[in-house]
Symmetry: C2
DNA sequence: CTATAATAGTGTCTGAAAGACACGAACGCC
DNA sequence: GGCGTTCGTGTCTTTCAGACACTATTATAG
């Protein structure tokens, strides 16, 4: 049963309030010239997660990001060259690191998930599935914070949620819910952007762990 | 990269208020004599889901059940014979069909998830993961109904929830929530079991679809 | 220097859902 | 006919979610 195993990684980021995904242009057949989700073969001596991390590093230069296994796709005809099973993952990188990712040697660039090009193989299904998972996870986990740099304003955070959910949120209700979680540490630092300066905050992993220990999950 | 791909299926049922899992005893090395989650190799021309359904049928004779992909496990050392990646699934069968499953040729039997034996390979991790997923899904989907036969009483349904969640639920609150969903059709049929007879109900897939169309999920 | 445009930050009310809680009803069995 | 067993039902209180509008602080343009 010579089945080849690959990993594909759907990498999301947020750029100026728009949810984007990193795609690479294929240089070889099949689907030459088509855009595809970055990925590659699993090596003999590495775990699936190690393979995903390696591909992520190789294709984007990015490391130390949120990474989560998504689903495995194994339709016998999904690759015309022969039987492959792919273990799909999704990754979240913040806007600062995202810049470095898009500028690598290989032809890779960020695409708005709204206006993405046609994709190779069954990658459209994989991307759709990743989007669905991201939206769901947003509501009961802290994945939203993974898309922001270390310090951010509450407005930044709200824009992340709005970009992923694709709808506007009420500012006061949003801030109340965030506040109730008690996992943000306000900093003595402001940032100015053409209006009243906004206070910067930092995600407090310490407080978050305490909540998890108590079995409290996220009420978004 | 000769990686072999398998599927393993964690099959749950409920027997007299106890959550049980189907295990098979291994007849060959490695782990000969140890209990394991049923599974097998993915064939050249079948999808992952078809492989899972085939194994389910071969090992338990059971068909037409709830089946959902769980996670893929691919640690390089998970099988001492060589590199394998397994795509794990979980399945739910109702008590009536479960009886037929346990009595097949191969040495297979139901084990309480509370008192399970040591398992082969990394199957303990897989089972734990399946349990976690099942508990989570119970709270916002209708998987609980999959563990019951066509007709059931509200008491039966509550026992399913209690067995999976591992704690007692308030009868009145439980029934109110079920009632609000409006997805059960009360039948003109009672069942007697040593007390006041209980009304039988049937899961109404029609009403359920209407709710899904409206984007209403399950508030458990 | 004053006016204006832009973004930040803040509290109340109302409706819905969740959890705690106790008793009468219908049957089988002795 | 009494007792044991399971079925079936309603209220109150608390918590959470959503709708809703104004003042505060800065930069910039006139």
């Amino acid at each position: 049963m010579p089945i080849r195993v690959t990993v594909d990684i759907v990498i999301f980021t947020i750029q100026s309030g728009d949810l984007q995904v990193l795609l690479v242009r294929r240089g070889i057949e099949p689907y030459k010239g088509r855009w595809a989700i970055p990925g590659g073969f699993v090596l003999e001596q590495e775990s699936l997660e190690q393979a995903a991390l390696r591909e992520l590093r190789e294709e984007t230069g990015v490391t130390d990001v949120y990474l989560e296994q998504l689903y495995s796709f194994g339709d016998p005809k999904r690759d015309p060259r022969g039987r492959t099973v792919t273990v799909a993952w999704f990754a979240l990188v913040d806007a600062e690191r995202a810049l470095q990712a898009g500028t690598d040697a290989a032809e890779a660039r960020w695409w708005s998930v709204q206006h993405r090009p046609p994709l190779a193989f069954d990658h459209a299904s994989i991307l759709d599935y990743a989007l669905e998972r991201l939206r769901n996870k947003l509501e009961y986990t802290t994945v939203g914070f993974q898309l922001l740099p270390d310090k951010f304003t509450l407005g930044d955070l709200q824009k992340v949620y709005e970009a992923i959910l694709g709808r506007a949120l009420d500012k006061r209700n949003f801030r109340r819910k965030i506040g109730l979680l008690g996992i943000l540490k306000p900093l003595d630092e402001l940032r100015s952007e053409g209006g009243r300066p906004a206070r910067l905050h930092r995600f407090s992993a310490r407080k978050f762990e305490k909540l998890k220990d108590k079995g409290i999950l996220f009420p978004f």
